[in-house]
């Protein structure tokens, strides 16, 4: 009897590990080793954990932006830069209009929303025309919109002296400080400090609220329809769902979350980064959700939370620990290999290749 029980438990653990996937396991163990090694090599555990939490708060909304599009079967959202651009427009216009403090943050979100909806709608229409090849086109939509906006940042008639080049009086700077506007409105809100450990409760709460809204949405009628479209579009159409409209809705949601995500990122980071910086923001977000256990056509909120924590944990822990052990900073190279390796792993899964 008891032997039977252990057998069952063993089988369960094995199947659980299998569903977890070996790359994730390796990454989780790697992070665990880093956390254990940290105090031994003289890196403060508390401050490294709070760094990880801080980065988690900064990036989690951007990772959340992957969820709606994966759900509706549009694949990984390599077009995240489009959403980021909507967010940047909101952020800069809010400062331009002269708002300060918390108001400027709320206004940035409000102003970004219509841009995100319009851009996302157009993006959704485009993706509906190219079903099956979304990911490659999403990548290049992101790239071309970023390089188009590079020209616009130079040409748009911004006036605010905190944002334009001081010498010429026109054209936005590459980095704009949000000091005095909305720096830290979320990350300093309800910040709990215990010794070296500080927990950015406000920022994590903000993410939790958004994640909860998305979770609730995915369980409404429209949300279920979205999942149906993602898992089998033909079946969904037969069930009377307007596949194209649902897909557009998911793209708009992803774009909007991307816009919100970058504003949350900026308020913690302290700077708005324009021009080419949104360029490489899609890949870390994509690999984070994949590390969390998502696949090309399946993603959930726990995937976002686990993935962001693991990914940002590695990004924060490797430089400090590695530096103390071997006195070289290999973290950048490790980050590139881990994140792209994860995306490659997800793209080559057999079960997901047949769609």
């Amino acid at each position: 009897m008891s032997e039977n029980m252990t057998q069952v438990i063993l089988n369960r653990t094995v199947s659980l590990l299998k569903s977890f996937g070996w790359p994730r396991l390796i990454i989780a163990i790697f992070l665990l080793v880093l956390f254990i090694a940290a105090p031994l090599v003289g890196v403060n555990f508390g401050s490294s954990l709070s760094n990880t939490l801080m980065r988690f708060g900064m990036n989690s909304v951007l990772v959340l932006a992957m969820v709606p599009m994966i759900h509706s079967g549009c694949g990984l959202n390599f077009g995240l830069p489009l959403g980021i651009i909507a967010g940047l427009l909101g952020a800069t216009l809010s400062i331009e209009s002269g708002f300060h403090g918390m108001t400027s943050f709320v206004m940035a979100l409000l102003i970004a929303t219509p841009f995100a909806v319009i851009l996302g709608y157009g993006y959704g229409l485009l993706l509906n025309r190219v079903k099956g090849g979304e990911m490659m086109i999403a990548t290049y939509v992101g790239f071309s919109s970023v390089s188009f906006m590079c020209m616009m940042w130079l040409l748009l008639p911004y006036k605010s002296p905190t944002m334009v080049w001081g010498f010429e009086g026109k054209g936005l700077r590459t980095t704009i400080s949000v000091e005095g506007f909305y720096k830290g409105v979320l990350s300093d809100f309800l910040n709990i400090k215990i010794g070296h450990l500080s927990i950015p409760t406000g920022m994590i709460l903000f993410f939790a609220v958004l994640a909860f809204i998305i979770w609730v949405f995915l369980h409404t009628k429209t949300g279920t329809a979205m999942t149906a479209v993602g898992s089998n579009p033909v079946f969904a159409r037969a069930g009377g769902i307007n596949v194209d409209n649902i897909r557009i809705l998911s793209v708009v949601m992803s774009t909007w979350l991307g816009a919100i995500g970058i504003i949350v990122y900026e308020q913690a980071f302290g700077f708005i980064q324009l021009y080419m910086s949104p360029f490489n923001m899609a890949l870390p977000a994509v690999s984070a959700i994949l590390i969390g256990g998502a696949s090309v056509n399946k993603a959930s909120i726990p995937n976002v939370i686990i993935g962001t924590f693991l990914f940002q944990g590695i990004v924060t822990m490797t430089p400090s620990v590695m530096n103390s052990i071997i006195h070289t900073d290999m973290s950048e190279v490790i980050r590139i290999i881990v994140s792209n390796g994860m995306i490659l792993y997800a793209l080559t899964r057999k079960t997901e290749a047949t769609r």
């Binding site: 099956g132 290049y140 020209m151 080559t348």
Partner: protein, 371 residues
């Protein structure tokens, strides 16, 4: 009357079939007078660009033939070529022997990387392009690991001029002065201010002939069959997976050679940046020449190089003269290269879908008729 109409139709067809090249011709026609460059300068610049880039772009043709789309993984070959050049400049082999030796060193690395890339692409059928794009990033990380950390302690590098001050890893720029334009300068013919390098042109011409010949060989035919329909090809007894891997290996090896030719013309190697943009620019140039994801010819390569690089040369100066900001022109040319790739991909995907629904409808009609 009807003759005129047919002619009009033909013009319309031409525009509809080649929207990208025509758009580029228009951009160039507008920008050239604005930039104020002389014709002689432009022609000599274009000749340099043809010498530099066409070999790299031709390496893209074979995967397209095998139905694997635009090979973003050509960057792998470029990295192999760079490793070859780094080693050769450490061994102080100069001139033509250096270039040839770099090419020879790049072959095994390219074959290995191409095999790896082909294996992975076989696991990701139907999404080759995005996968090869991610592979290029992934291998770029591995390349950095090797060049930045392994070169010095593991792979011996003798000359301190190559190594970073900390004692290992390669410097950001490697000087290739000893090899600079050594291919270009043999038998160069000068007409006025324009010098025409005969040897690189001969190499490229030979490669073009090989390409034409290759299409007619057994392997070339197999690749075209695989590109048309994998299942049919498999039924006909072609080893689909092996053929696909071979096409990627050939492409990677050619890209390695192309990169060596490119860098000997440039004269300096940006160790960590040279390869990152090369794939994007080569693909954009090929598409500008009128190629699509499933069809490309040698004509597309040369038209593409000329139009794309003409735009590249004149855009910053035109932006400078028009608005007073050279930066704007630079952003413009980056935007155009990305926009061209986006447009070509969208056109290809929507064409594929339309063809799919068309055959579907034909099948349905045929079934109706059967009843």
């Amino acid at each position: 009357m009807s003759g005129k109409k047919i002619k009009q139709n033909k013009v319309f067809q031409l525009i509809r079939n080649n929207p990208v090249p025509i758009m580029f011709v228009i951009i160039c026609v507008i920008c050239i007078p604005l930039s104020g460059y002389s014709a002689g300068y432009l022609i000599s610049e274009i000749i340099t660009r043809i010498v530099r880039n066409s070999f790299l772009i031709i390496s893209l043709l074979i995967p397209i033939m095998a139905g694997m789309g635009l090979n973003f993984g050509m960057t792998l070959g470029a990295m192999a070529g760079e490793i070859g050049l780094i080693l050769v400049s450490d061994w102080q082999v100069v001139g033509i022997p250096g270039v040839v030796l770099a090419m020879i060193i790049s072959i095994p690395i390219s074959v290995l990387l191409g095999w790896f890339c082909g294996k992975i692409l076989n696991l990701a059928k139907g999404r080759e392009m995005v996968t090869s794009y991610i592979i290029s990033y992934f291998i770029s990380g591995v390349y950095q690991l090797i060049v930045l950390y392994a070169m010095g302690p593991i792979i011996p590098i003798k000359h301190s001029s190559l190594v970073l001050p900390r004692g290992y890893g390669i410097r950001n720029t490697v000087n290739l002065l000893s090899m600079r334009q050594c291919l270009d300068n043999i038998l160069a013919i000068r007409i006025g201010t324009i010098s025409i390098p005969i040897v690189p042109f001969l190499i490229i011409a030979v490669l073009c002939f090989i390409m034409v010949w290759f299409r007619k060989t057994k392997l070339g035919q197999d690749m075209r069959a695989v590109g048309q329909d994998m299942e049919v090809a498999r039924a006909a007894g072609i080893k689909v997976e092996k053929t696909r891997i071979l096409s990627i290996i050939i492409s990677t090896v050619l890209a390695g050679f192309g990169m060596v030719i490119y860098l000997q013309n440039m004269g300096t190697l940006n160790t960590y940046n040279s390869h990152t943009q090369i794939g994007m620019f080569c693909i954009a140039a090929l598409l500008v020449g009128g190629a699509s994801v499933d069809k490309a010819s040698i004509g597309n390569v040369f038209l593409g190089v000329i139009l794309f690089h003409l735009m590249f040369i004149v855009a910053p100066k035109a932006g400078m003269n028009l608005i007073g900001q050279a930066q704007l022109g630079e952003y413009f040319r980056v935007f155009v290269s990305y926009a061209v790739i986006t447009l070509a991909l969208v056109l290809y995907e929507s064409k594929k879908r339309r063809a799919g629904t068309l055959t579907g409808r034909k099948l349905a009609d045929a079934q109706e008729d059967d009843k």
